[in-house]
Amino acid sequence: MGFFELLQESLPMLLQGLGLTLQLSAVSLAIAMVLGLLASLMGMSKIKILQVINRVYVAIIRGTPLLVQAFFIYFGVTGALGIKMSAFTAGVIALSLNAGGYLSEIFRGGIQAVDPGQTEAARSLGLTQAQTLRRVVIPQAIRICIPSVVNQWCITIKDTSIICVIGLAELTRMGQQIIARTYQSFEVWIIVGVMYFLVIYLLTVLARYVEKKVSLG
């Protein structure tokens, strides 16, 4: 099959896979952002046990491959608890736990990079710790974090390809299936690669725009 014929024929399947990749990315990242923020606050809490939970969580996420985490959740946890879980659900859990761990460190770094004088000024005006965090520290931390957060988003979007091992028909899986039929590995991986690239490229362009908008420059 010629390249354009192959493209035309496989595009519907690949777009379907891409759709699932985007869904998986969006849901996982949304959860991961909340999880990451909570975990980072736990990590900076004065309560020892919360700190320990955060440290253990981050250590496990950083210390084990995403592939192992996905297998563990999809096969290990479901097996041990005797429950059924869709590949999509397992994928979301694995990816959001994984990205959440990294994001919690990014958020912690961002919050700690805000000048302590900001907190002192807010507290001296009578704001509570929660008000200080929400109104003064976090808005400034977000600006500091944006580049690293976008980086993590890119990584997680690409990591969705690992989830194909538990049988989710996302973009990479679709590519494999097309190759199994056509044997045109070279062309198909180029097409798949370009599709990932475009998604990430659009995201980074958007992120640069947002960064400019909120910069204090």
């Binding site: 000048d115 004088g117 000024a121 807010a122 005006l125 009578g126 808005p139 400034q140």
Partner: protein, 242 residues
């Protein structure tokens, strides 16, 4: 009863005893300047008054409220104690006006409209009416510090603490900040000012504390402390800075 009462105040940072027993009374409407060598504990003393530094032992009472009580609602008590910092610490993500109105609105001291109104009056008072919508980054150091003073005043504090308010300023901007502080003193605000501006201490202070090695080594009227210091350590310090 004095506006600020400090009794047997000790503060350790780890093993290091920074404050070694400070006792003082500051009356309502009084302006006290705190001078002393760097590392003597004068900023720590000031920061203990509103519990930004938690005293290791001793008691601090401001307007009759025991700051160091175990059950003290410190956030509430701090509303009545304004603080101005060496590094201004304006919120860079907010406009000048939002810097001023943030705390009064969040602490429910006043409504948004009242806060805006108050903010305009305060900006006029510090001579920065035209900067209402500017961001702190566009202001000079002196302007930043005047906004910081307005921000603290917006909480209608009963006491104002100044932690080396002019030390980070270019020399030509020191005057404009000191002028605002002088006006405030004339209006009867109770003020504690940690400063290296000996001229200001001499001319404006009601009383001067000389803090050295964590204690008030000498205190008295500025004429006495500057003109006729009794403690040889005070003499030594003044010889170096004057």
């Amino acid at each position: 009863m004095a506006k600020i009462e400090v009794r047997e105040l000790h503060k350790y940072f780890g093993e290091n005893e920074v404050l070694r027993g400070i006792d003082c009374d500051i009356e309502e409407g009084e302006l006290v300047c705190v001078i002393g060598p760097s590392g003597s504990g004068k900023s720590t003393f000031l920061r203990c008054i509103n519990c930004l530094e938690e005293p290791t032992s001793g008691s601090i009472t401001v307007s009759g409220h025991l700051m160091t009580a175990a059950h003290a609602n410190i956030d509430k008590l701090r509303e009545d104690i304004g603080m101005v910092f060496q590094q201004f610490n304006l919120f860079p993500n907010l406009t000048v006006m939002s810097n001023i109105t943030l705390a009064p609105v969040l602490t429910k001291k006043c409504t948004k409209e009242e806060a805006l109104d108050l903010g305009r009056r305060l900006l006029e008072r510090v001579g920065l009416s035209e900067k209402e919508n500017a961001y702190p980054r566009s202001l000079s150091g002196g302007q930043k510090q005047r906004v910081a003073i307005a921000r603290a005043l917006a909480m209608k504090p009963q006491v104002m603490l100044f932690d080396e308010p002019t030390s980070a300023l270019d020399p030509e901007m020191v005057g404009e900040v000191l002028d605002v502080m002088k006006k405030l003193a004339q209006e009867g605000m109770t003020m504690v000012v940690v400063t290296h501006e000996m001229g200001f201490a001499k001319t404006v202070a009601d009383r001067v504390f000389f803090i050295d090695e964590g204690v008030i080594a000498e205190e008295g009227a500025p004429e006495q402390v500057f003109g006729n210091p009794k403690n040889p350590r005070t003499k030594n310090f003044l010889n170096k800075v004057l």
